[in-house]
Symmetry: D2
Subunit: 126 residues, 4 copies
């Protein structure tokens, strides 16, 4: 699955490149795009299933900078899933250059108790 967009000016920093803290946000956008594509946008997950998706682990390898004006794509997929946990892996590219790779591990929690619950069936349809 591929999510793509242009860098916003406010995402750059005084080094003239996209600040590293935006990559976790780009990954979140990609996951939102995924949830929409399976017909379960995140607001529906929250409102209908009373579930929040939380982040347990994050890693990013920064290979090349993104500059203002760049358009990037995120090639991503679910690389692992068991009853409670799922993992996304991401490759950020500009044209054919790898900008960054990343990995995020998640669980679902009940929005009231904030306890981890098993992943709802509807989210299991990759």
């Amino acid at each position: 699955m591929i999510y793509s967009r242009k860098v916003n000016f406010y995402e750059t920093d005084a080094q003239g490149v996209v600040h590293h803290s935006n990559y976790p946000r780009y990954f979140e956008e990609a996951r939102g795009f995924y949830l929409e594509s399976i017909g379960y946008p995140y607001e529906k997950v929250r409102n209908e299933l009373n579930v929040d998706i939380i982040l347990l682990e994050l890693s990013v390898q920064y290979k090349n900078p993104l500059f203002f004006g760049d358009t990037f794509s995120i090639d991503f997929y679910i690389s692992d899933m068991d009853r409670f946990f799922f993992v996304f892996e991401y490759t950020v590219r500009k044209d054919n250059t790898v900008i960054a790779t990343g990995k995020t591990k998640h669980a679902c929690i009940n929005r009231n108790s904030r306890k981890i619950v098993s992943i709802p069936e509807v989210l299991r349809l990759k």
Copy 2:
């Protein structure tokens, strides 16, 4: 009342200056500092009074840029308050240079109904 701190690198943009969207955040920090100083930190306002403070109007005049490494101060006060609304005014300075001026107008809402309520007595003690 004066709130002061140093610019964070992640607040700069590719023009090499603090991005303008951080000034409303600096003003929010200043208001949080004010609430603490009167013994009513915002989390207490939310939890004990069940009230959220919302922003109705914002204006900023940008006079001079802030650069990475700068320390700035915000000189601010409540310039107006009636039963429902209150206004803060701010002057951001670096040494003796005025960096920006600003104004924010607020009201209190009940956290459940999200309707505007009169300003709680404890917040009226300037």
Copy 3:
């Protein structure tokens, strides 16, 4: 001219709504969209004209909150322009509800001297 997109989760705050500091960022996105539509994306303005566009004044009136999952549109136009300054006005809507209105005043500066210069001809074609 209309710019439209969906709220990102990371733009929300603990009140459950879009944090007010994102609106200046949305306005910036809208201006970027405008510059692209006239064939002069901001990176081209910076690289070819050696000009930065700076913000001198900002005002926002917040009428109704945006929630996570909302799609909003920004209806905006250049309401004033002379030799040195130009003003954008914005109306943010969700369906037919006005969420916010805003206004930003800008000038162009030379990227080296950081002095205000007259607005380049190519940016005058509204």
Copy 4:
């Protein structure tokens, strides 16, 4: 070395907790605090040594959420350094609860060529 501060409201999200993308920013603040403590604030690194510090790898393990109103501390140190690369490790705590752990790997680049250079002597004094 310990860096500590209070959560800002604008760092929370609609789950009511600090959004995960702020932790890399907190780590950056901690590194800035370290550079100041050795008499080499980052702006001096940039201006006097003509060097930018870049991030090559980031990892965060999120154990417990931070809420609005919380004060957190970051206990951090340089866990590895050779001629070109250095690694920071971080433990974020609230009182005695571990909130998160993290690791960042960095290099120095020449600000003009953007090529990796050996770590300046003055930054080697741990």
